[in-house]
């Protein structure tokens, strides 16, 4: 069973703020999902190739060639705050 504590923990990891009522609903939702996964886990998948990607494509490479980067105007056009060519964010303590 997924409890509310787990929901709050996952929400904190994802930087989401959720209300108490939501936490209860999400706990039920997540539980349904996990029950379904349990069901899948019981299937016999011998002989089925593991899938790591849904597209039937592989080996998509790029050559090591320089392409133009953004101009400073472009790079900072969406910055909430900037200071001397740096993106300015609330202080994080190390």
């Amino acid at each position: 069973m997924i409890d509310k504590k787990t929901v709050y923990y996952v929400a904190a990891l994802a930087r989401l703020r959720i209300e108490d009522a939501e936490a209860e609903r999400f706990a039920r939702n997540l539980d349904d999902i996990l029950q379904y996964i349990d069901k899948l886990n019981k299937l016999d998948v011998d002989g089925v190739r593991p899938t790591s990607h849904v597209l039937a494509v592989e080996n998509v490479y790029r050559d090591d060639k320089v392409l133009p980067s953004l101009s400073p105007e472009e790079a900072f056009s969406f910055a909430v705050e900037q200071h001397e060519r740096h993106y300015k964010v609330p202080k994080v303590i190390e």
Partner: protein
């Protein structure tokens, strides 16, 4: 093995601990472009000059793998005797921090490019082998500058997306010195591959250490602490020494080591627990949906294997055997791949290998160091050095003059014979001229003559020096010595 600090022994009896160290090394690759986009991969640009929608993590942008990064990763894996995973995929490692604009780092989780290798190196007079658990590809994060005055953090995303190979060792090291020697050997091997600057000062090689202790005889590993923020190999050694002592004292005083990340403060020689990322160690890895998987053919891996250069340990053995060079000298030669190549080029032109080695390891290295360049940037041809040594051998110039003109040869690019002729450096070996000078210095110094005659033969050196002075250093010292010996033997 670390003995308990003396003062604490009485409390718990005499207990010996074994130190267990595993190292994680991050290596920045020096490809032209970043791992997943075409932005320039260079150090020292203006802030945020090399950024694009992909490395800024803008919605709708998609990463595409730089093929060279994959090839360099294989190269590193093979050089460390790893198995190469022919099935390659990438995974998301999720955590929120401003240095990571996407909110996740693209890394490799369950299928690293390389695994199960080893590195063997000389350590405390014996050969030590350390297992390599894995080497995987990932992207570097941006650089944060914490600004107290503005009370904010400033972010430069130039480094974001720089290709990294993370090399994880087995916990096979048991002393700070072993950790130091492993890092030195690893860096040497990596430098031969020419895939990275391997420069700790520029951050192109970084190291974290996992340190634990356990009572001698116990097989289960103790709880480890992760040390970060060491910016030289000697700082790694100091940090590990400090941490082993801290854990030993803690355990002996009845405490328990807790798993945590500690930052090393080299100036104060202390570790400080890292406050952030406390519960961020739940990375929720999952397959990266924006990158399709890669399959390498055996031929592709084989062609990287064939292209590998001769690695340092193999080169050391071969140079010792083929040229009869002792271990000490050969070890100096192989510290730089181009220096060893230079030696071998000279050895094709001149056959006293030991002599070439002496010239390279002393005189040529001095030129390299005083100019602060690599050998590749020193305009000295093997032909020039070989010719110079030959002119010393045949007595045209003295050994001293030879060492003196090396610098000028490098600067001017002229031939050895031209420089000798231009500067009038050829030694005077003419018997009559030398005897005449000796006559003069002997006549002028009767006291020293008496000393030599009284058996103090070392005083003969005084006459050689005086004769040299009179002839502006051009007298052939070997001949002078012979003549003097003859004179005094005959009374």
């Amino acid at each position: 093995m670390v003995s308990a600090p003396g003062g604490l022994m009485s409390q718990t009896g005499n207990m010996d601990f074994e130190t267990v160290i595993g190292l994680e090394v991050h290596l920045q690759l020096k490809t032209q472009t970043k791992i997943f986009c075409g932005c320039r991969n260079v150090f020292g640009s203006e802030a945020n000059a090399n950024v694009c929608p992909v490395c800024l993590g803008l919605p709708g942008s998609l990463p595409v793998l730089n093929r060279q990064v994959l090839l360099d990763g294989i190269k590193v894996g093979l050089a460390l005797n790893c198995d190469i995973n022919r099935f390659v995929k990438f995974d998301r490692k999720n955590y929120y921090y401003p240095d990571l604009p996407k909110g996740y780092q693209i890394s490799q989780y369950d299928f690293p490019i390389a695994k199960k290798g080893w590195l063997e190196f000389p350590c405390e007079g014996r050969s030590k082998r350390v297992g390599i658990t894995r080497a995987h590809l990932e992207e570097d994060a941006g650089k944060l500058i914490h600004d107290d005055r503005l009370n904010c953090t400033l972010v430069d995303y130039n480094r974001t997306g720089t290709p990294l190979v993370e090399i994880v060792s087995e916990p096979d090291m048991h002393s700070p010195q072993e950790a130091y020697d492993y890092l030195t050997a690893l860096k040497l091997t990596l430098s031969y591959l020419n895939v990275s600057d391997c420069d700790m000062e520029k951050g192109s090689l970084r190291c974290d250490a996992n340190v634990s202790i356990r009572p001698v005889g116990q097989t289960k590993l103790g709880t480890k602490a992760e040390l970060k923020n060491m910016n030289s190999f000697s700082a790694v050694k100091r940090a590990v020494e400090h941490e082993v002592e801290r854990q030993t004292r803690l355990v002996l005083s009845g405490g328990q080591v807790v798993q945590e990340t500690l930052l090393w403060d080299d100036a104060q020689s202390i570790t400080v627990p890292m406050r952030s990322k406390e519960d961020a160690h739940d990375y929720r890895y999952f397959p990266e949906p924006d990158l399709v998987p890669f399959t390498l053919t055996a031929a592709e891996v084989e062609s990287v294997q064939i292209g590998l250069p001769e690695l340092p340990s193999a080169k050391l053995g071969r140079i010792r055997q083929s040229y009869g060079i002792n271990e000490y000298d050969a070890t100096i030669l192989i510290q730089d791949r181009s220096l060893a190549d230079f030696f071998e080029d000279c050895a094709r032109l001149y056959s006293d290998y030991k002599n070439i080695c002496n010239w390279i390891n002393v005189a040529v290295l001095k030129e390299i160091r005083s100019r602060k360049v690599g050998l590749a940037d020193l305009p000295l041809k093997p032909e020039t050095l070989a010719a110079l040594i030959q002119r010393v051998d045949d007595g045209t110039i003295s050994n001293l003059v030879g060492k003196d003109i090396l610098s000028g040869l490098v600067d001017s690019g002229k031939s050895v014979d031209t420089v000798i002729a231009e500067q009038g450096l050829a030694q005077i070996s003419d018997d009559a001229a030398l005897e005449k000078v000796l006559d003069e210095v002997i006549a002028a110094n009767p006291k020293t003559v008496a000393e030599v005659k009284a058996g103090k033969t070392a005083a003969m050196g005084f006459f050689v020096g005086q004769a040299m002075k009179k002839m502006q250093g051009k007298a052939n010292p070997k001949k002078l010595n012979e003549m003097l010996t003859r004179r005094f033997q005959n009374g």
